[in-house]
């Protein structure tokens, strides 16, 4: 059954091809159903593969399968194959990617209703799914890179889907270019790994001896650069908030659930080359990102922007986990985050849809009446992300905080950052829920909010269910319940084990819950009950995301552009100018000697006479 893995990416690819050729003929909604069927089929096949894999014996190391399709890049000693690697990590990723993906496909059928480029949207979605699966299933760095860039490209297409809007087009370009910075790191890391280990295949890398410390750290950091690009970490996060220009299902799928987590996947996949020095940096950057993004999220007005910064913040959590060595926690959080963040995005999409493309939360309020299903599921997502037990988010976040606490060098500090982030998360999510679904009605008279169709609400419900029970895959209460941890164990060289005692764990859990509750309380007090003035809670500094993006824009648009322009001018005036100047110089030289051609024969005779004298002088007298 595992052999069927080739079918997993192939189904979306087929969907893509079908839509490419017949997309416009199929039209709405058939194109959407075709794509959804491909995604759902892909999910089912993944399930089959998963079951097949479960049937193998983990202890004997049988849960790792490589399927080589063909030799892709054979060059000398470099042998890059197009192949799939099925192991617990990839199948875990694939399961939620295809699962959440299929749901979002379904959701989009309703959401994209009436869009002139309806079929094209699904074409991109399928292509994205294919790329993502290539990323996940690739058996070597290069195939992963294929998927990696593929999702980047699809992300570009999807963000700038409504390209008539200048902002959408710009955002798409920004996403791609920023991602490319990360890709640079990916490529160099690949080169370095190949140079050091002579292979780019994951199984061989994991079997190889360790690289030298310097190389290892360099490779780790380069991989982290790649991950930071894709997963929107400081300082490369800037594209993600702008990416909200894309249709909301895209935000849910690409920029919350799947693509942005591929950085996490990559680092986990490469866990055995990561060095301690690098891990520390990863943890610090992850923690900083988490805190920073959470702070930014506090003051956003756009319903999707809040979620975007929230995503960045949660991704920061994941890297905090990786940096602390808790790879399972990171993956765990990836999964739960996929559930609840997709849910939140889809919910926000439902709201936007219901509000006729209104995204400003200040113009919403009291929508729970008009959109009950959306409101209910959104609240589930809110509780999950706020870390309220027993929702999924609580379990994964708790594990990360624990891992941070146990970090060897600066554990408590990291934990504190995580805790503050948790508090802020609870606060800004509560603020969002209150602003959107509670309080007074602030929308304009001519807006008539309504609940979405079943294709949109069904995924909401499914995801809400997953957000509630998702934590069950890795409950820390009983050792045997750590399903995910056991399942993923074979892929780690040095499996991470929590060293803290149960008491510590419980105290830390309680502290984090309390933090979450404080956050919720502040939100309720200020936004619902208006006990606390809200203006200071939305400082302009945070609303503008600490001006980081603006600074970037100023540098890129100012110094960067003028530098580029100067180079172009240099090229035109100095480099090309020199060429023309040489030409003119020859002309000048000619004009200089042109007077000798005076037309007077006696002048010409001077030429003969003086030439004769000179030649005689040189030849007969050796004068020169």
């Amino acid at each position: 059954m595992v052999e069927l893995v080739w079918l997993v990416p192939t189904l979306p690819l087929l969907g893509f091809c079908l839509l490419l050729v017949t997309g416009r003929m199929l039209g709405e909604p058939r194109a959407g159903w075709v794509a959804t069927a491909a995604a759902a089929g892909s999910f089912l096949v993944t399930l089959v593969v998963f079951i097949g894999l479960l049937g193998k014996d983990s202890d004997k190391g049988e849960r790792s399968y490589e399927f080589i399709l063909f030799e892709w890049l054979p060059a000398g000693s470099l042998r890059v194959e197009a192949g799939f690697l099925v192991d617990p990590l990839s199948i875990t990723m694939a399961l939620f990617v295809t699962g959440v993906g299929a749901l979002i496909h379904l959701y989009s059928i309703g959401y994209m209703h009436g869009d002139p480029k309806y079929s094209k949207f699904f074409l991109y979605l399928n292509l994205f799914l294919f790329s993502m699966l290539m990323l996940v299933f690739g058996n070597n760095l290069v195939v992963t890179f294929l998927g990696w860039e593929g999702v980047g490209a699809c992300s570009y297409f999807l963000i700038s889907f409504w390209h008539q809007r200048e902002s959408a087009a710009t955002a798409g370009k920004k996403a791609f270019v920023t991602n490319r910075v990360g890709d640079w790191g990916f490529m160099i890391a690949t080169f370095a790994i190949w140079s050091a280990l002579g292979t780019v295949t994951y199984t061989e890398i994991s079997r190889s001896p360790a690289m030298s410390a310097a190389t290892g750290t360099a490779v780790s950091l380069l991989l982290f650069v790649a991950a930071a690009g894709k997963s929107a970490q400081l300082p490369l996060y800037v594209w993600l908030p702008d990416a909200m220009e894309g249709p909301t299902p895209v935000s849910a799928m690409v920029h919350a659930a799947t693509m942005v987590t591929s950085g996490v996947y990559l680092l986990v996949r490469m866990n055995n080359v990561l060095t301690d020095d690098a891990l520390l940096i990863i943890a610090v950057v992850g923690g900083a990102t988490a805190l920073f993004a959470a702070l930014c999220a506090v003051a956003q007005h756009d319903i999707k922007k809040v979620l975007a910064y929230s995503t960045i913040s949660q991704l920061g959590y994941m890297f905090l986990a990786i940096g602390s060595g808790a790879y399972v926690a990171a993956i765990f959080h990836v999964i739960t985050h996929a559930f609840f963040k997709a849910l939140l995005f889809l919910g926000s999409g439902s709201v936007i849809h219901g509000m006729h493309d209104e995204q400003d939360m200040r113009k919403m309020g009291a929508l729970r009446v008009a959109m009950p299903i959306t409101a209910a599921t959104f609240i589930v997502g809110w509780l999950a992300i706020a870390g309220v037990p027993p929702f999924a988010g609580f379990w994964s976040k708790d594990e990360i905080l624990l891992a941070a606490w146990e970090q060897k060098n600066i554990g408590p500090l990291l934990w504190a950052v995580g805790l503050v982030t948790a508090l802020l998360t609870a606060y800004y999510m509560s603020r969002q829920v209150i602003l959107v679904f509670f309080g007074e009605q602030r929308w304009e008279e001519d807006v008539h909010p309504h609940e979405s169709t079943w294709t949109m609400t069904t995924p909401l419900c499914v995801l809400a269910g997953a957000a509630i029970v998702g934590g069950a895959i890795n409950l820390p209460l009983v050792k045997d319940w750590l399903i995910l941890e056991h399942f993923l164990e074979p892929i780690f060289h040095h499996p991470h084990h929590f060293s803290s005692g149960t008491t510590t764990k419980i105290i830390l859990a309680i502290v984090s819950v309390v933090a979450g509750l404080i956050g919720i309380s502040v939100a309720v007090l200020s936004w619902l009950m208006r006990r606390i003035p809200t203006e200071p809670l939305e400082p302009e500094f945070l609303e503008n995301a600490m001006y980081v993006d603006a600074t970037y824009a100023r540098v890129v648009g100012g110094a960067g552009t003028s530098g580029f322009q100067k180079t172009a001018d240099f090229d035109a005036e100095i480099v090309d100018g020199t060429v023309n100047r040489i030409g003119r110089l020859v002309m000048k030289l000619g004009q200089l000697i042109q007077p000798t051609q005076s037309g007077y024969m006696r002048n010409y005779a001077v030429g003969v006479a003086v030439g004769a004298v000179a030649i005689v002088a040189v030849l007969a007298w050796g004068l020169l």
């Binding site: 020859v586 000619g590 000798t596 051609q597 024969m601 002048n603 005779a605 003969v608 030649i615 005689v616």
Partner: protein, 496 residues
Amino acid sequence: MGALQLLGFVGPSVNWWALLPQIILLGAALAILLASALAPQRTSTAFATVTTLCSAVTSSIIAIGLWNDVKTEGPSSSIASAFGVDGFSIFFTMLILIGLAATALLSHDYLDREGIDPPEFHALLLCSAAGAIVMASANDLIVMFLGLEALSIGIYVMIAMHHRRSEARESAIKYFVLGAFSSAFLLYGIALTYGATGSTNLVHVRDYLDAVVFRDQHLLMAAMALLLVGLSFKVAAVPFHFWAPDVYQGAPSPVTGWMASIAKAAGFAALLRIFFAAFASHDVDWAPIVGVLAVITLVIGAVMAILQTDVKRMLAFSSVSHAGYVLVAVHAASADGTSAALFYLFTYTIMVLGTFAVVGAMGTDDEHPLSRYAGLGRSRPVLALGFTVLLFAQAGIPVTSGFIAKFQVIAAAVNNESYFIAGAAMMTAVIGAFMYLRIVMVMYVTDEEEERTSRTWHWTTSTVVIAAVGFTILAGVVPQFLIEFAEDAVPILIRG
């Protein structure tokens, strides 16, 4: 003879076959003159042209026979070693005859159009050609000098025959005065050679120089210097080139073609014979000077050419530059270099004849502005293409004879380890190419309003152009035959 024999006089043996080409040309000249004197009304241009052509063809046939003789029996010299019957002289004889035929054809149309008396013109052309042959074949400096004068004086008159144009007269007097001036230098050089070696005969000179070690060489060196001056003038090497643009511009186009091709070829023939054959033992002395002349000639020719707006002047400076190339080959002072020079001169002569055929047909006015060629690519595509080929050949673009010629020159220079000169030659080719490209551009890239109808072309002109283009491409694609021809002509330069 009888009376002389009584005095105990024995005349030198005469190889009449070898003299026959010149005799035929001179005979044809006299026949034309005679005909025009006896029946002035009936002596048409056609008669003169046909007579000239016939004499050229007949002479060529004899030259081919002589070539075979020389190949089988080896070179010889005739009339007291004054006249060389060798591969070199026959090579140039053939070249001059080709030039003669082409110029006769080009003049045919031109003379009628411009109202020039054809009999005298053709007679002068024939005499001039005979002079050129003498110059190229001479084994004696004074004979060479006489040939040069015959060639030159003929040309002076041919230029001045264009009565209506003050430019023609101006260029004739310029060429005349400067030519006389420079031939005085040449003659002084001959005198000093005579003084230094005791003879004006090249065979003697060579043998003497091979045998004797000079106590001091000043006299010989001065002789060489002055000979070089005189001949450099004839081939228009810088700084003795000033006359060339003015004279080329002012002269009737067929005469310009004749000057640029045959006068130059004959000048180089003499230069090669004197320096490479007679002064071979002193090549370390003269070669560097020739090298310097070559470089400045190349540079000045190319640089000045790109400034011109008159096509004839452009071609004049390009011709100066080409002289530089041949000088590079002469500079090599080797058999390679000489055969490269011969190849170059042969192909260049044909190119330049074709080029001036086009120029001559393009206009009768006093100037040849570039704009006259505008739109030729559309109105006369075949001839424009032909002109393009000829210009590209002069620029040294492959698949034309010009490239092979240039290649051999460079090869000769490199063999001589004159890398700098070879590099300079190639770089000036680039500068020069600009000028050729300008003409091509004008023909093909025109705005609509620039287009104009071009005059009808006489078939003689077209024949010359097509033949020249055909040869240029033939010798560019399969140059072996011409290379062999040139190489065969070299090793048998002088035989006592």
